[in-house]
């Protein structure tokens, strides 16, 4: 399944999703495509007017430009996602949205989409191991549900 990780640039969550046998939907891929696209010339992130306009499907025109740019880049991820893992209150080294309002709003958009979503709170120390176990169990459930859906379709 395509599993959106949040924070959307979290390498740790990306790794866990891939170990769980799923495809991680991450911001790095989206930004990578933008940066490598020779047709776009708006360094450093190649955020274009189109990205900002795309965000307007979800945010008001009155929101700050940086928030629109962030949401605009994340919208394709949201539209691709079939499931999501959200790690809240993690230190910036675990991946970070940078902007607190964009952070809150994008989490809201994930919840609103109604896809299977696991929300885990970062508490550090030994509790992190528990969080990792929870995430792996969630990913295993997703695999089983995926298999079940496939066999239902075959049947």
């Amino acid at each position: 399944m395509k599993v959106l990780v949040y924070p959307p640039n979290s390498l740790i969550l990306t790794d866990l999703v891939e170990r769980g046998g799923h495809e991680a939907v991450v911001l790095m891929r989206e930004i990578g495509e933008h940066v490598r696209d020779a047709e776009i010339d708006a360094p450093p992130l190649n955020v274009t007017e189109e990205d900002l306009k795309r965000a307007l499907r979800y945010v008001s025109v009155e929101e700050p430009a940086g928030l629109k740019g962030r949401i605009g880049l994340l919208v394709p991820l949201l539209e691709k996602a079939e499931a999501a893992v959200i790690l809240s209150d993690a230190p910036p080294t675990y991946g970070c949205m940078g902007c607190a309002v964009a952070d809150e709003f994008f989490k809201f958009l994930i919840r609103k989409k109604g896809i299977p979503t696991l929300e885990v709170k970062y508490e550090g120390g030994e509790k992190l191991e528990v969080a990792v176990e929870e995430i792996m169990a969630f990913l295993a459930r997703l695999s089983q549900e995926g298999k079940a859906t496939k066999s239902e379709k075959k049947g």
Binding site: A65, L67, A100
Partner: protein
């Protein structure tokens, strides 16, 4: 290239960073992000006394702290997004923090997705001048015979100076900038009793300086911020210490904090013509009074009325409605002056810590009603020096004598 620190919070997501980079390169600035470790973020927040919800704003504070340790950085550009409340708090904190610890020029801007290129250009160009022409800007006297031209968006001004004295002036509304400058130069020379061949050097500043500079073969062409700050210091003879310069011209306005006659923090207007001389021109027309008499009329006001809008168009509409409701002309004139002063205060002055003395220059400084409104608002006396409308021309005439 001059190294300028960009201290921002991920404003690259606004999609206009390429514009900053292009303009910076054009004016000889190398925009750099001050290096810092993630582990320094908490300490920086403690030092500034504020922790934001947004991690990038905390990082912005850490970059500001780190910048102070890099002697190669000669200026700072503070960026957050327009309408971001938390960003504005941090940007203001960082500006104050840096201002208390360093003398390098600092400018700030609020990112929008479709900025006016000229707004960014004017800021970065002024920043570059303040860094690279510092020794020239330290000049405090004019020598020999020089001419200064201020090709403004609304009016063109020229002064002829001889041994630190103004000996001739010329002023007229800008039409074709080249034609206007020819005419003001002729008037200024006539007033001085001199010929063009007597002029040893010509300096140009103002909106039309590129075109006019080429036309008159200027020896020096400088942007307005540094020149106006210098002109204000020269006209008031206040060359030492801090000062605040308010410049309101026909179409735009500037607020400049200067130290020893050199600008170091500034804020440029331009959101709406309602805070410019143009608004007062239209208001005078509606009140059937010459612009030169508007200020005096306003001083006769005994009853306070406020216009319902600061916008140029709706402000005039409000003025017409106020007149039609039977309010006296002098009260409406005072309301128009208050409207301009209020807008400059709300959009520019209140963001900065005003440092006395306050020097008011530019065409609008001649409208006494506006000066009065500023004095009421700020609770301090404001200096309008003689020839205040020629501050730009005097500044550049003096600076070109040092080239």
């Amino acid at each position: 290239m001059t190294r300028v620190a960009q201290i921002s919070c991920g404003t690259e997501y606004s999609g206009i960073q390429w514009l900053f980079n292009d303009i910076a390169e054009n004016v000889g600035i190398d925009l750099v992000y001050p290096e810092m470790e993630l582990s320094q973020v908490d300490a920086a927040c403690k030092e500034l006394g504020f922790t934001a919800e947004s991690p990038s704003l905390n990082m912005m504070m850490a970059r500001a702290v780190s910048m102070l340790e890099d002697p190669t950085i000669k200026g700072a550009l503070l960026l957050t997004c327009f309408k971001c409340a938390e960003g504005t708090i941090v940007k203001d904190l960082v500006r104050r923090y840096l201002h208390e610890r360093t003398d390098i020029p600092i400018i700030s801007y609020s990112n929008v997705e479709k900025p006016k290129e000229i707004e960014i250009y004017a800021r970065l160009e002024a920043l570059a001048t303040l860094i690279t022409r510092k020794s020239l800007l330290m000049r405090e006297t004019q020598e020999g015979i020089t001419m200064g031209i201020d090709s403004g968006s609304s009016t063109t001004k020229a002064v002829v100076m001889k041994d630190d004295e103004i000996v001739g002036v010329g002023w007229q509304p800008t039409t074709d900038p080249r034609k206007s400058v020819d005419e003001v130069m002729e008037t200024a020379l006539k007033g001085a009793g001199l010929k063009m061949s007597d002029i040893e050097a010509i300096g140009v500043t103002g909106h039309g300086r590129e075109l006019v500079g080429e036309h008159v073969k200027a020896d020096l062409n400088l942007e307005e911020v540094s020149v106006i700050a210098k002109g204000a210091a020269l006209l008031t003879k206040l060359h030492k210490g801090d000062a605040t310069v308010i410049d309101i011209g026909g179409m735009n306005n500037k607020l400049i904090l200067s130290r020893d006659g050199i600008a170091n923090i500034f804020n440029l207007g331009g959101i709406c013509g309602g805070s410019s001389g143009r608004f007062l021109e239209v208001a005078s027309h509606r009140l059937d009074v010459d612009i030169s008499e508007l200020g005096q009329l306003a001083l006769k006001s005994k009853e306070k009325h406020d216009l319902q809008s600061y916008c140029m168009v709706f402000g005039i509409q409000s003025l017409v409605v106020t007149l039609a409701s039977g309010v006296k002309r002098e009260d409406v004139a005072a309301a128009a002056c208050r409207s301009v002063a209020n807008q400059v205060y709300e959009n520019q002055i209140q963001e900065m810590e005003v440092r006395p003395p306050i020097i008011f220059v530019g065409g609008v400084s001649l409208v006494e009603g506006v000066k009065k409104e500023f004095e009421k608002m700020l609770g301090v006396d404001i200096i309008v020096p003689p020839n205040s409308q020629y501050a730009g021309a005097v500044g550049i005439a003096t600076l070109v004598s040092g080239v």
